[in-house]
C-alpha cells in the first residue's frame, strides 16, 4: 500500500465511521427499534473514536512529510454529460489538525452526553443528530471542492437547528430553532451563489482550480474580480454561522438546546465553521482587498457589539454565547488581516475553553460555592473595562443600548422581516379572496 493509498483509506474512514454509526442507530429507530442508551452511546462514540484515531494517523503521516498536501479522489457520485459530481477530499496542514480536533471534541461530548442525557426522552434523537453533525463537520473540513464543502455545511446547519429545538415541548426552544435555521438558510445563499460563480468561472467546484494546494501560502489562480466576488459571498455565508451583526440574534437563543450540543455547536465547532471556510479559501481573500476589508469591519463591529451586550446579560448561557461571538468575531478580523496560523490556534484554544465553560454552566452555582468554601469568602471582583472611562451619561446610554442588544433585532424586525412578512401575508390573503371569488362564494367567506 502506497502512502497515498494509506492516506486515502484514512480520510475515507474519517467520513465513513460517523456515517456508519448514524445508519446503525438511525435505521432501527425508523422502525421503532431504538438501541439501548449504552449501545447508542457506544456506537456513536465508536464512530467518532475511529475517526479521531484515523485523524491522528493521518496527522503522523503528513507530519513525516512536512505536511505536503494529499488530494484524494474518493469517487464519482454521479455523472451527467460534462457535469461530474466528484468527491474530492484533501489532507493538508489545515484540514488534518482541524479534523483531529473536531473528531476528538465530538468524541468527548458524546461521552459527556451519554450521562447528561440519561433517560431523557429523545435520547436516540440527540445522538442521531450528533452523528449527522459529526459526519457533516468532517465532510466540510476535508472537502476539496465547494460542492462537497456545501454538503457538509448543510448537515451542520440542519443538525444545529434541530438540536436547538430539541426540547420540542418548549415554545421558546422551537422559536429559537426556527430563528437559527432561517438565519443559516439566508446566509447559505452566499455559499450557494459562490458555488454558482465558481462553476461558471472555472467549470468545476474543485479548489485546486481556484488556488494552489500549499496551505497557507497557496497562490490564487483566478482573476481578482472572481476572487472578490467569491470571497464576498463566502463572507456573507460565514456571517450566519458565526453570528455576525446583523445576523447575531439567533446565537443567545440557541442556548435553548441541550447543554452538550450547545457546547459543541456554539462554543466550539459550528460557531467556527465560517472561520474554517474562510481559512480554506484564504488565497481568494488574499487576492481581494475589498473582501478582506469587509471581513475586518464586520468582525470588528460584531466583536464590539457582542462584547458590550455580553456584559449586561443576566444569565450564564447568554453571557457565554456573547463571549463566543466576541472571540469568533476577533478570529474573523485576524483572517481579514491576512493571518492564517494565528486564527487557527485561536479557534482551537477558544473552542476548548468555551465548550468546557458551557459544559460546566449547569454546575456554575455548585462550582462557585466550592470556590468560596475553598478561599473562605467571596472572590474579589476585578478586571478592567474601557467602558469605565466613559462619562456617566454615556455609560448609562451604553447600558441601555446593551440591554436592548444594540437595537439590532428591533431594526432587523422592523425594517426587513416585518415588511416582508406583511407583504407575503397580504399576497396570501389576496390569493384566498381570488379563490373564493372563483369558487362563487359569498363576499367575506374564505376557502
Amino acid at each position: 500500500m502506497t502512502g497515498h493509498d494509506f492516506v486515502s483509506t484514512l480520510i475515507v474512514l474519517q467520513l465513513a465511521a460517523p456515517a456508519a454509526s448514524l445508519v446503525v442507530i438511525g435505521l432501527p429507530a425508523l422502525f421503532d427499534r431504538n438501541l439501548s442508551e449504552t449501545a447508542t452511546r457506544r456506537v456513536v462514540g465508536g464512530g467518532f473514536g475511529v475517526g479521531f484515531m484515523a485523524g491522528l494517523c493521518m496527522f503522523a503521516v503528513l507530519a513525516s512529510r512536512r505536511f505536503a498536501p494529499e488530494i484524494v479522489h474518493a469517487g464519482t457520485w454521479f455523472r451527467v454529460g460534462h457535469h461530474e459530481a466528484t468527491i474530492h477530499l484533501v489532507a493538508d496542514a489545515l484540514s488534518v489538525p482541524y479534523v483531529c480536533f473536531s473528531s476528538g471534541l465530538c468524541w468527548l461530548i458524546n461521552a459527556f452526553a451519554g450521562k447528561y442525557m440519561h433517560r431523557e426522552p429523545g435520547f436516540t434523537r440527540f445522538f442521531v443528530l450528533l452523528a449527522v453533525f459529526g459526519t457533516g463537520m468532517n465532510l466540510m473540513v476535508l472537502a476539496d471542492s465547494i460542492d462537497v464543502l456545501f454538503a457538509g455545511w448543510e448537515c451542520v446547519g440542519i443538525s444545529s437547528a434541530l438540536l436547538i429545538g430539541f426540547f420540542l415541548e418548549r415554545t421558546n426552544a422551537i422559536r429559537a430553532a426556527l430563528r437559527g435555521y432561517v438565519t443559516y438558510r439566508i446566509c447559505d445563499v452566499g455559499l450557494l451563489a459562490a458555488s454558482v460563480v465558481v462553476h461558471r468561472a472555472v467549470g468545476t467546484g474543485d479548489f485546486d482550480r481556484l488556488f494552489g494546494p500549499e496551505w497557507p501560502h497557496a497562490p490564487c489562480l483566478v482573476s481578482s474580480t472572481t476572487a472578490s466576488i467569491v470571497s464576498l459571498l463566502i463572507v456573507f455565508a460565514a456571517m450566519g454561522k458565526t453570528a455576525q451583526v446583523p445576523f447575531s440574534g439567533w446565537l443567545p437563543r440557541a442556548m435553548e438546546g441541550p447543554t452538550p450540543s450547545s457546547a459543541i455547536f456554539y462554543g466550539a465547532l459550528s460557531i467556527h465553521a465560517g472561520a474554517y471556510v474562510l481559512l480554506r479559501c484564504g488565497p481568494l481573500l488574499d487576492a481581494s482587498p475589498v473582501a478582506s476589508t469587509c471581513l475586518i469591519l464586520i468582525g470588528a463591529a460584531s466583536a464590539a457589539h457582542a462584547s458590550v451586550v455580553g456584559r449586561v446579560q443576566t444569565d450564564l448561557k447568554s453571557m457565554l454565547a456573547y463571549a463566543s461571538m466576541t472571540q469568533a468575531s476577533l478570529i474573523l478580523v485576524e483572517i481579514g488581516l491576512g493571518w492564517r496560523v494565528i486564527p487557527l490556534v485561536h479557534v482551537v484554544g477558544h473552542a476548548i475553553l468555551r465548550s468546557l465553560q458551557i459544559l460546566r454552566s449547569p454546575s456554575a452555582l455548585h462550582d462557585r460555592h466550592e470556590l468560596e468554601a475553598a478561599i473562605g469568602g467571596h472572590p474579589q471582583l476585578g478586571g478592567w473595562s474601557p467602558l469605565a472611562w466613559l462619562p456617566s451619561g454615556a455609560r448609562e446610554a451604553a447600558y441601555r443600548i446593551a440591554l436592548e442588544r444594540g437595537y439590532e433585532e428591533m431594526a432587523v424586525g422592523r425594517f426587513v422581516v416585518g415588511p416582508l412578512t406583511r407583504l407575503l401575508e397580504r399576497a396570501a390573503e389576496a390569493e384566498s379572496r381570488w379563490v373564493a371569488w372563483l369558487a362563487g362564494e359569498r363576499k367575506g367567506t374564505r376557502m
Partner: protein, 485 residues
C-alpha cells in the same frame, strides 16, 4: 417453456408488463364497484396497485436490458405512437404506481368506500396509460380522463364543492386549450420540420394549457384550492404524477427547431412560480395550505428545467419530478394520517403533536428534508443538476431557483416545528403509527435516501431518457449516434 420465453423479444415482454400495470387497477376498480365487503376493499386496492408496481418495475428492468430504442406500436400521428415506451416511460410508470400504492396503504379506514376506491384505481390506471402514449390525440383524451376522478372525488367531499368548481374551471380551460393547441400542432407538425405559424400557435396554446394544469402563475389558484378542499389522496393524485409536465415533454420538447420560445417562456414563468409558491408556503396558517403552495413551488421546478437545450437540465427536471413527487407524497400522507386522528392542523400556534405521534413526526421530518435538498437525499442531486444546468444557460434563472430552494426549506422547517413542537396536553392520546402506514412511508423514505446516496442508476437512466427526448424525432440513427457522448 424456454422456447416460448425466447420466442418473444424483450419489447414484447415490456408491452405485456405495461398492459398488466394499466389493466390491473382498472379491473380492480370494476371489482370494487361490485358488491365487495367493505373490509375487502383495501385488500383489492393494495393488491391491484401492488401488481401495478411489480409490472411497472418489470418494465423498468426489461427496458434497462434493451439498447434504448423506443418501442412504438399502433397508429402514429404527429410526433408519437399510440403505444410508446422509452426511458421516460420506464421511470414514470413505477413512480406513479408506487404513489398509488402508498396512498391506498395510508388511506384512513373511514375514507374507504367502493366509489372512492374505484375512482382512485381508475385514476391510477389512466395515469399509467397516459405515460404509455405519445400520440397527441391520445394525450389529449387521457389529459381529460385523468382529471375526471379528481373533480368527481372533490365534488363528493363534504365542503369540497367550492374547490371542485375552481378545479373544474381550470381543467375545462386547460382541456379546451390543449385540444386546440394539439390540433394545430398536428396540422403543422414542428417535430419533423421547421414549424410554420400554425405549429407555433399550437405550441403556445399547449404551453398555456400546461401552465394551467401545472398551476403556474398566474393560473395557479386551483393548486392550493384542491389541497384545501379535496381529500388528501385526491389532491396527491391530481398533482404528483404531473401529467401536464409529461404532455409538455411529449409535445413541446424535441422540435426540429430546437428549444421553442414557448418552452423558454413557460420555464421563466415556472421559475417565478417556484419562488412565489415557496414564499407563500412560509406564511400559510394551516398545514394543507402549506402543502398546497409547497407542491406548487416544487412542481414548477420540474417545468423550469424542461426548456433546457442541455440533457443535464432536462435530467435535473426529471430528477426533481421524481424526488419532489415522492417527498411531497410522503408529507401529504403523514398529514393525512395525523388529520385522520386529530383533525385539521393549524400552523398559527405550535400544536405539540410530537409526543402524540413520534413516528409520524420523524417521517414528516425525513420527507421534509428530502424535499428541501438536504445532502444524502435525491432532491440534493436533483437541485444540483437543475441549478448547474440552468446556470450553464441562464444565471438569473439559476439564482432564482436557489432562492426558491431556500424559501422552501424555511417553510418546511417552520411547518415541522409548528406541527410537532409546543406543549402537549396532559390528556393527549398517543397515536401509534399503523404497520401499513409504516410500510408505505418507510418504502418512500428508503427510495428517497437510497437514491440520494447512490444516485448513479437513476440519474443514468434519466440522462439516457433526456438525451433521447432532446433529439428531433425523425433524426436518422447515424445522427443519434453522433450526438451521443
Amino acid at each position: 417453456m424456454i422456447a416460448f420465453l425466447t420466442s418473444h423479444s424483450p419489447a414484447d415482454w415490456i408491452l405485456v408488463a405495461a398492459a398488466t400495470a394499466v389493466a390491473t387497477p382498472a379491473v380492480a376498480a370494476a371489482v370494487a364497484l361490485a358488491r365487495v365487503p367493505e373490509r375487502g376493499l383495501r385488500r383489492i386496492a393494495v393488491a391491484a396497485t401492488g401488481v401495478a408496481v411489480a409490472a411497472s418495475l418489470a418494465v423498468t428492468v426489461l427496458w434497462s436490458t434493451t439498447d434504448g430504442t423506443t418501442i412504438a406500436r399502433g397508429p402514429r400521428l404527429g410526433g408519437g405512437s399510440l403505444v410508446h415506451v422509452d426511458g421516460l416511460t420506464a421511470v414514470l410508470m413505477p413512480y406513479a404506481s408506487l404513489i398509488a400504492l402508498a396512498v391506498v396503504l395510508v388511506r384512513p379506514r373511514r375514507s374507504i368506500d367502493p366509489r372512492s376506491i374505484a375512482r382512485k384505481l381508475i385514476g391510477c390506471s389512466a395515469t399509467l396509460a397516459m405515460f404509455l402514449t405519445a400520440h397527441p390525440a391520445a394525450l389529449v383524451i387521457m389529459w381529460v380522463v385523468t382529471a375526471l376522478p379528481t373533480w368527481h372525488s372533490t365534488r363528493a367531499t363534504p365542503g369540497g364543492r367550492a374547490a371542485a368548481r375552481v378545479f373544474a374551471i381550470a381543467m375545462a380551460s386547460a382541456a379546451a386549450t390543449v385540444a386546440l393547441g394539439t390540433a394545430l400542432l398536428i396540422a403543422d407538425p414542428p417535430w419533423e420540420r421547421s414549424g410554420g405559424p400554425l405549429g407555433a400557435a399550437g405550441g403556445w396554446l399547449v404551453a398555456i394549457a400546461v401552465m394551467i394544469r401545472k398551476g403556474i402563475v398566474p393560473f395557479h389558484s386551483w393548486y392550493p384550492a384542491i389541497f384545501a378542499g379535496a381529500p388528501m389522496s385526491t389532491a396527491l393524485a391530481a398533482t404528483m404524477p404531473q401529467v401536464a409536465a409529461y404532455t409538455a415533454v411529449r409535445l413541446l420538447v424535441g422540435h426540429a427547431d430546437g428549444v421553442g420560445t414557448e418552452l423558454v417562456v413557460l420555464s421563466n414563468f415556472a421559475i417565478v412560480t417556484a419562488v412565489y409558491g415557496a414564499a407563500l408556503a412560509v406564511v400559510q396558517r394551516d398545514l394543507r395550505g402549506f402543502i398546497g403552495f409547497l407542491a406548487m413551488s416544487q412542481s414548477a421546478l420540474t417545468l423550469a428545467g424542461l426548456a433546457g437545450s442541455l440533457p443535464m437540465e432536462l435530467t435535473g427536471a426529471l430528477c426533481v419530478w421524481i424526488s419532489s413527487g415522492l417527498a411531497l407524497t410522503g408529507i401529504g400522507l403523514v398529514t393525512w394520517a395525523i388529520e385522520s386522528r386529530a383533525g385539521a392542523i393549524s400552523l398559527e400556534i405550535p400544536q405539540g403533536r410530537f409526543w402524540d405521534a413520534p413516528a409520524l413526526a420523524s417521517f414528516f421530518l425525513l420527507f421534509g428534508l428530502a424535499t428541501i435538498g438536504v445532502p444524502g437525499t435525491l432532491s440534493f442531486v436533483a437541485d444540483d443538476l437543475i441549478v448547474s444546468g440552468a446556470l450553464d444557460e441562464r444565471l438569473g434563472g439559476g439564482l432564482m431557483i436557489v432562492a426558491a430552494t431556500v424559501l422552501a426549506a424555511i417553510a418546511v422547517i417552520r411547518a415541522w416545528f409548528e406541527v410537532f413542537g409546543g406543549p402537549t396536553a396532559a390528556d393527549s392520546p398517543r397515536h401509534e403509527i399503523l404497520p401499513r402506514e409504516r410500510a408505505a412511508l418507510s418504502a418512500l423514505v428508503l427510495i428517497l435516501f437510497g437514491f440520494g446516496l447512490w444516485p448513479a442508476p437513476l440519474v443514468n437512466s434519466l440522462d439516457r431518457a433526456a438525451e433521447k427526448l432532446l433529439r428531433p424525432i425523425d433524426s436518422p440513427p447515424s445522427l443519434e449516434k453522433a450526438s451521443s457522448p
